[in-house]
């Protein structure tokens, strides 16, 4: 039976590799944490820190965006859109952009339906997050991952 031999050098390399991997993992975790914190702060600034429910919002975004400079985004929110019950504002965020805020779209009962479309910039693959503020103050949220292709032929 062969005994696996580990020389001093390869052992050091293994340990070194482990440390580097751990450091990298730590860095990625920090970046992800920083993104989450920036997103949370942006949402808090926009709507306060009330509880958010999932649902009611439909986000229409490409799974893969051809170019991060111009990503078409459409959304709609279920609502009767009456004076008593309507969607006041839909806030859009992109968690990995230099700033998380993208746009805040303000509706009125005269809108008929809470539906809009625009084109946004996305700095890399990330979640687009929508938060809808209803006229009674309740909050709904939805998110969708968009892959942004980078690389290829510029010019």
């Amino acid at each position: 039976m062969m005994k696996p031999e580990i020389s001093r050098r390869s052992a050091l390399e293994l340990i070194g590799g482990g440390v580097v991997t751990a450091l990298l993992a730590g860095t990625f975790a920090d970046v992800a944490k920083a993104d989450a914190k920036m997103l949370a702060e942006a949402i808090k600034k926009a709507v306060g820190d009330g509880a958010m429910k999932e649902g009611k919002i439909t986000l229409d975004l490409p799974e893969i965006a051809e170019n991060g400079n111009t990503v078409p985004v459409g959304f709609s929110v279920e609502s009767p859109m009456t004076e008593a019950d309507y969607v006041k504002t839909v806030h859009l965020f992109a968690e990995k952009n230099p700033a998380a805020d993208v746009a805040s779209i303000h509706f009125t009962p005269a809108s008929g339906v809470a539906k809009a479309a625009l084109r946004i910039r996305m700095a890399g693959t990330q979640n687009v997050v929508a938060v809808a503020e209803m006229s009674d103050g309740t909050l709904y949220t939805a998110k969708k991952l968009v892959k942004v292709t980078i690389g290829g032929c510029g010019g």
């Binding site: 805020d101 993208v102 746009a103 303000h106 009125t108 008929g112 809009a116 479309a117 625009l118 910039r121």
Partner: protein
């Protein structure tokens, strides 16, 4: 911001009909994040930060835009037509300048 904006509003609609309004304006939407390739200095932010639509003088739709809105911003949205009247669309730049466009609709 010496650009002529484009808006598309149907000329006629039935009372109670929900119409789609589309708008487009040429603007660089300079984010404030870019650096000048030659000087290396940051190019100051200059975007349209506000879009407002009124109908017969009353605000019916508006949007706050941040630098993440693409250049030559496009916005489409809905409106439930109840009476004939006039829309006015206004875009406001970071420097305070505004551009407006009007469109009439007839209810049959």
């Amino acid at each position: 911001m010496a650009s002529k904006p484009r808006v598309r509003v149907p000329k006629k609609a039935k009372a109670g009909e929900i119409i789609t309004i589309k708008s487009l304006i040429s603007h660089k939407m300079e984010t404030g994040q870019r650096k000048d390739k030659k000087s290396g200095e940051k190019i100051p932010r200059k975007i349209i930060n506000k879009f407002v639509c009124t109908f017969n003088g009353k605000v019916v739709f508006s949007a706050d835009w941040h630098p993440a809105v693409s250049a030559n911003p496009y916005m489409s949205f809905s409106y439930k037509v109840m009476e004939s009247g006039e829309f006015e669309f206004t875009w406001t730049d970071d420097d305070g300048k505004t551009v407006s466009k009007k469109a009439k609709i007839m209810v049959s």
